[in-house]
């Protein structure tokens, strides 16, 4: 399948400041793609370029195969962009606001009734439809904002920091809605700083820093990267000390490290001697009862810290 977003060697300058410096990546259809980078890395600029608010100065951006320079209307019909700030007509009621955008997209009255009801149900806002937007909490306003983005049934959602400023409950609920949208076949491109949630949610990720692409690809591959020595996280029915002694004696085990505050241990193996299956069999054969056995992956935070540079961009 053709990628939904293709970015090739895109650079963008604001006066003397180089916001983007030859970034390239692709986003596959029906995927949930995370977009990560430190403050000032160029995330919002990239999003504005994809959603046609800015025109690329150098390089090419194609969305659904359309060049963002020439096919603005065709692209806008198929995308929904949620900016990183609340930009809503606060004097409108929730219903009026969604109905207004549905009408602006050219839907008939009958279609609008169905669409507004659907997006209100999806975002769980139907009970608040007659409330003024100004009176809603931040989390509710974010839901209305998401509902607005969904009004034209877009194939691609571009979300800039959708969870910023939300309390944990509102954040979890928002993530649930995003999962539901992915199940509905939408492609979601999400920029966020909440890495733990992105790691759990996204199929693929792009990390940028100082206007350059540092990584772009599947989330799994990023988390497995740089672990040339396979590492497993194991918990057995023994004390930490006994576990370390017994596991160190198994063939192919290079090291066993305890994890502070946990009864798990991290075991590194030599892949030329053994593999995960053999290790598990050896543990069971030695009479230990396995409580947990899994491949130890890096956290997205660690990958992010490794790939991005320290300090503030000049």
């Amino acid at each position: 399948m053709d990628p939904v977003i293709e970015i090739e060697n895109v650079s963008h300058l604001f006066k003397q400041h180089r916001a983007l410096d030859g970034i390239s990546f692709q986003v596959s259809p029906e995927s949930l793609h995370g977009f990560v980078g430190p403050n000032g890395a160029g995330k919002t600029t990239t999003l504005k370029l994809i959603c046609t608010l800015l025109k690329p100065q150098v390089g090419k951006i194609r969305v659904f195969g359309h060049d963002v320079r020439n096919n603005v209307k065709a692209i806008r019909r198929r995308i929904g962009y949620m900016p990183d700030h609340f930009s809503m007509y606060r004097q409108m009621t929730v219903f009026e606001y969604l109905d207004f955008f549905a009408a602006a997209y050219g839907f008939t009255l009958k279609e609008r009734n169905r669409i507004v009801a659907d997006v209100l149900a999806l975002t769980d806002m139907d009970v608040r439809k007659d409330d003024f937007i100004q009176g809603l909490s931040r989390g509710m306003q974010q839901r209305v904002s998401l509902a607005r983005v969904l009004v034209n049934d877009p194939d691609l959602l571009l979300l800039d920091e959708p969870a910023s400023g939300l309390d944990p409950r509102a954040r979890i609920e928002l993530m649930e809605i995003l999962r539901e949208l992915r199940r509905m076949g939408k492609t979601i491109f999400i920029s966020s700083h909440i890495l733990s949630e992105l790691a759990e949610l996204c199929d693929s990720v792009t990390i940028i820093d100082r206007g350059k692409t540092k990584y772009s690809g599947p989330m799994e591959a990023l988390l497995d990267q740089q672990t040339e020595t396979p590492t497993y996280r194991i918990r057995v029915d023994l004390s930490a000390e006994e576990t370390e002694t017994q596991l160190s004696a198994l063939p192919g085990v290079l090291s066993v490290e305890g994890i502070e505050g946990r009864s798990d241990v991290r075991v590194k193996i030599d892949p030329t001697i053994t593999d995960g299956n053999q290790l598990l069999s050896a543990i069971i054969a030695s009479g230990m009862i396995v409580m947990h056995f899994g491949r130890d992956q890096r956290h997205l935070n660690e990958a992010f810290m490794d790939l991005t540079e320290r300090g503030v961009r000049s």
Partner: protein, 514 residues
């Protein structure tokens, strides 16, 4: 004391370091100097060139203080309310006195400097004849007192209201009431007798004497020997101080709870109530509908406005009725004339408001994301904004009907006057340029709330026209003026078109900025 004046000191340091303020003051001084030179060169055309020049400068100053000054001071506290930074300032140990002084004094100094920079140049108008140095001093004292009054009125409105727009509305409302009240009281004094008549007459005189506008007219009357300290100055200073103290007293009460930006007005609430019972739906032109609701105020406000305009016209007709004139014809004339007058004012307000709200609330980027060109969206917004003038068009139409044949006869004779048509065309084109300028100012200027945007546009228009006219006057081009007006029309049209495109470009850029 240092702590109380910390904000004042910081604001003044920032202003002093910015080039923009110095450039504006320099341009103002240069402009007056240029006009002095022109009036001196064309002194033969007037019996009192110094007085003519000084009077026009004073009128401009009075209007600038009243319109732009009110808006400038009305944002003093509301800008912090809108940004929701008052709480942070309080947590940093900035007290209410420090906040009020920190926001009010720099503005007052900035405005006073703009007035002060003109004084040395305007003293030179004495050398042109027709005006005495005592009149110059008295006029400036009058203006400073008026500035103090307006500054404190704006500050009070800014403390009481939650947004700059509503603070401007309150301050303007009070100033307009002070303007209209003497007229109404005079009518009341004439229609009644005894104590009520005396009280009404006394109050009307007091308000009139306290007005800077009437004081300037009095000072500049031929042969006047004005007193430096008069009732207007003293009353303006006292009332201004009362406003300042009231602002300080009510500051904590009105700034305790910070609200979300944007306000829900009475009409919004009425609309909601109706929506809940019978939801009214958006038609085929949603952007026009939205601005009809938010700029025009919706159906309720449009009807209310029509009632007010029509009622005003009826009241004016009734009070100025002459026995030998046909009442319908007179009402028609009033309706038609007043509709045109208010139409010019309302169009200027719409031009400065139409994009401002979207930019301020950062909703422009969301609107622009619709699959339409920026031109389609912008023109739809303009049409939506123009719906606010529907009551005036209705009044004008009614006026034409009541005027009957008189209107068509007048129009017919106007059409035969080539020179008059030429001048009207030039003025309309200038007005169109002014509308574009105020839209442009409202988009690019940080302080582009509508009164400021309109004032900026009006000042640019008046100054540039005066410069152009002065060039012609210096060149002695009095013959063949029609050709000059035609050239003026073409230049105005060209600049308007260029500005039209620039507005489009700025709107595109603003969508990406927000």
């Amino acid at each position: 004391m240092n702590r109380i004046l910390a904000l004042v000191k910081r604001a003044l340091q920032t202003d002093a370091r910015q080039l923009r303020g110095h450039v504006i003051r320099f341009l103002l001084g240069a402009f007056i100097l240029w006009m002095l030179f022109v009036y001196q060169a064309t002194a033969g055309l007037s019996t009192a060139p110094g007085l003519d020049l000084f009077r026009s400068v004073m009128v401009c100053n009075y209007l600038a203080i009243t319109i732009a000054g009110t808006a400038f001071f009305s944002s003093a506290i509301t800008e912090e309310k809108e940004e929701r930074t008052l709480g942070l300032l309080r947590m940093a140990g900035v007290g209410s006195t420090s906040l009020i002084l920190g926001k009010w004094i720099p503005r007052l100094i900035c405005a006073a400097l703009l007035l002060s920079v003109q004084i040395p140049f305007n003293f030179l108008s004495v050398t042109l004849g027709g005006v005495l140095w005592q009149q110059v001093v008295a006029c400036y004292l009058t203006l400073f007192a008026h500035l103090y009054l307006v500054g404190n009125l704006g500050l009070l409105a800014s403390v009481l209201m939650s947004s700059t727009a509503s603070a401007c509305g309150l301050a303007f409302g009070i100033l307009i009431a002070l303007f209209i009240l003497p007229m109404l009281l005079s009518v009341l004094a004439m229609e009644t007798s005894g104590f009520i008549s005396q009280a009404a007459s006394g109050l009307a005189n007091a308000i009139q004497s306290g007005s800077a506008q009437s004081q300037i007219s009095e000072i500049l009357a031929t042969g006047a020997n004005p007193a430096m300290w008069n009732f207007q100055i003293i009353s303006n200073l006292i009332v201004g101080t009362v406003f300042l103290i009231t602002s300080w007293l009510f500051f904590d009460v009105f700034t305790r709870n910070e609200k979300e930006p944007g306000s829900i007005g009475l009409f919004d609430r009425l609309r909601r109530r109706r929506n809940m019972t019978r939801r009214r739906r958006i038609g085929s032109y949603p952007i026009i509908w939205k601005d009809f609701q938010f700029i025009g105020g919706g159906r309720i406000f449009i009807l209310l406005k029509f009632g007010i305009y029509f009622g005003l016209a009826v009241a004016i007709t009734f009070f100025s009725l002459r026995t030998n004139r046909d009442i319908a014809e007179m009402l028609g004339g009033v309706l038609f004339g007043y509709s045109i007058f208010f139409l010019f004012i309302e169009l200027a307000i719409v031009s400065a408001r139409v994009f401002r709200y979207e930019l301020q609330e950062k909703t422009w980027s969301t609107l622009v994301m619709l699959p339409r060109s920026i031109r389609e969206i912008a023109y739809a917004k303009v049409l939506g904004g123009l719906t606010t003038t529907l009551p005036l068009f209705a009044c004008m139409f009614l006026g034409i009907i009541l005027l009957g044949e008189d209107f068509w006869e007048g129009l017919g004779s106007l059409m035969q006057e080539f020179e008059a048509l030429l001048v009207i065309t030039y003025l309309l084109l200038q007005y169109l340029l002014g509308l574009h300028l105020s839209t442009f100012c409202s988009i690019v200027a940080k302080w582009g709330v509508w009164p400021v945007a309109i004032s900026m546009a009006a000042f640019i228009m008046i100054a540039s026209n005066m410069v152009v006219i002065s060039f012609f006057a210096l060149a002695g081009a009095s013959d063949g003026w029609e050709a000059l007006v035609v050239i003026g029309c073409m230049i105005t049209g060209g600049i308007t078109l260029a500005l039209h495109h620039m507005i489009g470009d700025r709107l595109q850029a603003k969508a990406a900025e927000s």
